[in-house]
């Protein structure tokens, strides 16, 4: 997983600082959701949600289908009004403002390109509504065409270009008005993996060039991790965790988040403190104890979960010397993924623990095969202890 160091742009005189306005109490958020609830009939789509998003952020909303991501976007764009609560844009309450009066543009999941207009006219559509002088309008459209590399297709209609090109038209059209806030609802859903990755980097490039604030909806977690400055993991209309991609991955705040993002082993057990930030974790299945570090305090005997990423579990033939945590098992299954292999190791009867190792050698020289006895080991800081 690639994690992008997110750097502040446009201040070449200053050394690049890490971009983290959410950590700075003096920063004013661009968007502020205050106790927003949205009900459709008696169904609660968004449940008392509060959230701040800052200028120049690339903010990703992540969550399972039906958790309310699109509803959030539609409230920001003005197509839905919250049942209760307040939504602010740059300090101003935008709930009573109709969509056409908001400095917000949306790139629709379906692109929603106007089929009767050429690519050029699609991009110019929003600018014409502002009755921009013709010269400026032309310049702006050309600029957008160039940015999205669509110059050659300007005279074509949407049905005469490819899916990827259409997606870029939709992006150009929503960017043309230089909105304060750009909403992208699953913008890359229809693209194949290669084109999707290219476009992700293109989006990040555009975001850095234009300095627009982006809110992107996706249910591809890898995409969220790649592009976002912060990720919000949602479930049933509530925010579960809002943090940087690295924190979401390395320090999830709940089993739900740990399980939702990436591959993870989750062990159930009880904890007992052994020192400052140090705990004994007794695995409920076997009664075996492992050591785990945790910044979060736990009381003795509290039931908890230990979440460990497979790539942090070492696999070896012998018990590694000096390893604090080691468990014996048998190789049950091997998933070969090219660059890495995932070993499914059966420990203590039926329980499966996954361990990943990089394939630095050719496959014929693989160290372990099915039914081999192996040792799994990890450091105390490899896992995260999570309360229920």
């Amino acid at each position: 997983m690639t994690l992008r160091p997110f750097l502040q742009q446009g201040r070449p005189d200053l050394p690049a600082t890490v971009f983290a306005p959410w950590a700075d109490p003096n920063q004013k958020p661009l968007i502020r959701f205050q106790n927003v609830t949205k009900r459709f009939g008696d169904f609660t789509a968004i449940d008392d949600l509060s959230l701040d998003i800052y200028e120049r952020e690339f903010f990703a909303l992540l969550g399972p289908s039906g958790c309310g991501k699109t509803t959030m976007m539609r409230m920001l764009a003005g197509f839905e009004n919250p049942t209760s609560g307040r939504i602010e844009l740059a300090g101003q309450d935008i709930v009573p403002v109709p969509p056409n009066k908001r400095a917000v543009n949306m790139m629709f999941q379906s692109y929603a390109l106007f089929p009767h207009l050429t690519v050029w006219d699609n991009i110019a559509f929003g600018l014409r509504r502002d009755s921009m002088p013709k010269i400026d309008l032309q310049r702006r459209v050309e600029e957008m065409l160039k940015l999205t590399r669509l110059e050659k297709f300007a005279r074509r209609k949407p049905h005469q270009i490819s899916g990827g090109q259409r997606q870029r038209v939709a992006l150009a059209r929503s960017l043309a008005k230089a909105p304060k806030l750009l909403l992208l609802d699953e913008p890359l859903g229809a693209l194949d993996k290669k084109l999707r990755q290219d476009t992700q980097f293109e989006l990040m490039d555009i975001q850095e060039k234009t300095g627009t604030t982006f809110v992107i909806v996706t249910h591809d977690q890898e995409e969220a991790m790649t592009v976002a400055s912060r990720v919000a993991v949602m479930d049933e209309g509530r925010l579960i965790q809002v943090a940087t991609p690295a924190d979401i991955y390395e320090a999830p705040n709940s089993v739900y988040v740990a399980d939702f993002i990436g591959d993870v082993n989750i062990l159930e057990g009880t904890v007992r403190a052994t020192g400052p930030n140090r705990y004994h974790f007794t695995w409920a299945d076997t009664g075996e104890s492992v050591t785990a570090a945790s910044e979060r305090p736990f009381s003795d005997g509290q039931t908890a979960h230990l979440a460990i990423r497979p790539e942090k579990v070492q696999i070896s033939a012998e018990r590694p010397e000096g390893a604090e945590n080691a468990i014996k098992g048998k190789v049950h299954d091997i998933a070969y993924l090219g660059n890495i292999s995932t070993f499914h190791v059966r420990v203590a009867g039926e329980r499966i623990i996954k361990a990943q190792s990089a394939n630095t050698r050719r496959i014929t020289n693989r160290a372990f095969t099915w039914e081999d006895d192996v040792w799994l080991s990890w450091t105390p800081t490899a896992g995260v202890v999570l309360s229920d």
Binding site: N100, P115, H116, F125, G126, R129, K177
Partner: protein, 293 residues
């Protein structure tokens, strides 16, 4: 071989139901009236041969149509009535189609049904019933008098107004259905996208909804205009002496004057006038089919 037969079938159909009748009508229009049975000359006979027959045909009847200004006035008046009626059908039909397309999903089959329902009774009976509504003692006048809106009954029946009402009423479904089908296919997110880009509701309607239902509008207009132009039943039942429509003239030439050749000439000219919109209509349909692909 199978392909050839498949292609042949529609052509044979066209030949039997369009080309052959047209040739017969065309041939009569080139003949002369006669007190005979059938009432025109020449008749083809094998003894005299094809050349003797053809040499007796001429364009006299078409020439005659230009000498009496009744005919071109009737053509013009028909055109004017058909165009006006089409315009009103569009004015009434578009909002209805729009309302249907915007109605909740579960209502739409019912609404569609209501639009098609009149076709279940005879066209003639429906036109007759308008007489009962529009006449001086009719329901409309009774209601208006009772409500105190008017003091004396309105004279609607046997005027051009009644003809407009009749045509618009009869052909309204042909206007509604193609427009509805175009609006139904319109993706609602396009309107939202337009609003998102700064359009008011009304602007979004003119800039997105109307252009995207253009094909439906064109199809609807032709479907009303083409039959309205040659309409005979509605002007003769609802119209009055002032109503001049070519369909009525045609009928009178055939049945009152028993002048089949002149009547045929009128029909041929009417057909030629109709060919232009029919070809345009076909073009529109074809273009739409291509766009949908």
């Amino acid at each position: 071989m199978r392909r050839a037969i498949l292609i042949l079938v529609p052509y044979l159909w066209l030949l039997a139901l369009f080309l052959v009748p047209f040739i017969i009508v065309g041939r009569i229009s080139l003949s002369d009236t006669a007190l005979a049975r059938p009432p025109y000359l020449p008749q083809f006979s094998w003894d005299e041969g094809i050349w003797a027959f053809l040499s007796q045909l001429d364009f006299e009847n078409f020439w005659f149509l230009t000498t009496d200004d009744l005919y071109w006035k009737a053509y013009l008046s028909s055109l004017q009535i058909a165009i006006t009626a089409t315009f009103f059908a569009l004015l009434i039909g578009y909002p209805i189609a729009y309302g249907m397309a915007r109605a909740p999903e579960e209502w739409r089959p019912t609404l569609m049904m209501l639009v098609i329902l009149p076709f279940w009774t005879s066209f003639l009976i429906r036109v007759y019933s308008w007489i009962g509504i529009l006449s001086q003692e009719g329901y409309l006048n009774q209601i208006l008098l009772w409500a105190g809106i008017i003091d004396a009954p309105l004279i609607i029946l046997n005027t051009n107004t009644a003809v407009y009402i009749g045509i618009v009423y009869t052909y309204l479904p042909f206007m509604i259905l193609p427009i509805y089908s175009a609006l139904d296919r319109l993706d609602g997110s396009l309107i939202e996208a337009a609003e998102d880009l700064g359009c008011s509701r009304l602007q979004a309607f003119w800039l997105i909804t109307v252009p995207l239902s253009k094909n439906g509008i064109i199809a609807g207009c032709f479907l009303v205009f083409i039959p309205a132009l040659g309409e005979f039943v509605i002007p003769s039942l609802l119209g009055g002496s002032e109503t001049l429509m070519i369909g009525k003239i045609l009928w009178e030439e055939f049945f009152n004057n028993r002048d089949w050749p002149v009547a045929s000439a009128v029909a041929v000219v009417l057909l030629l006038i109709l060919v232009v919109p029919i070809v345009l209509f076909q073009r529109n349909q074809q273009r739409q089919a291509e766009e949908d692909r």
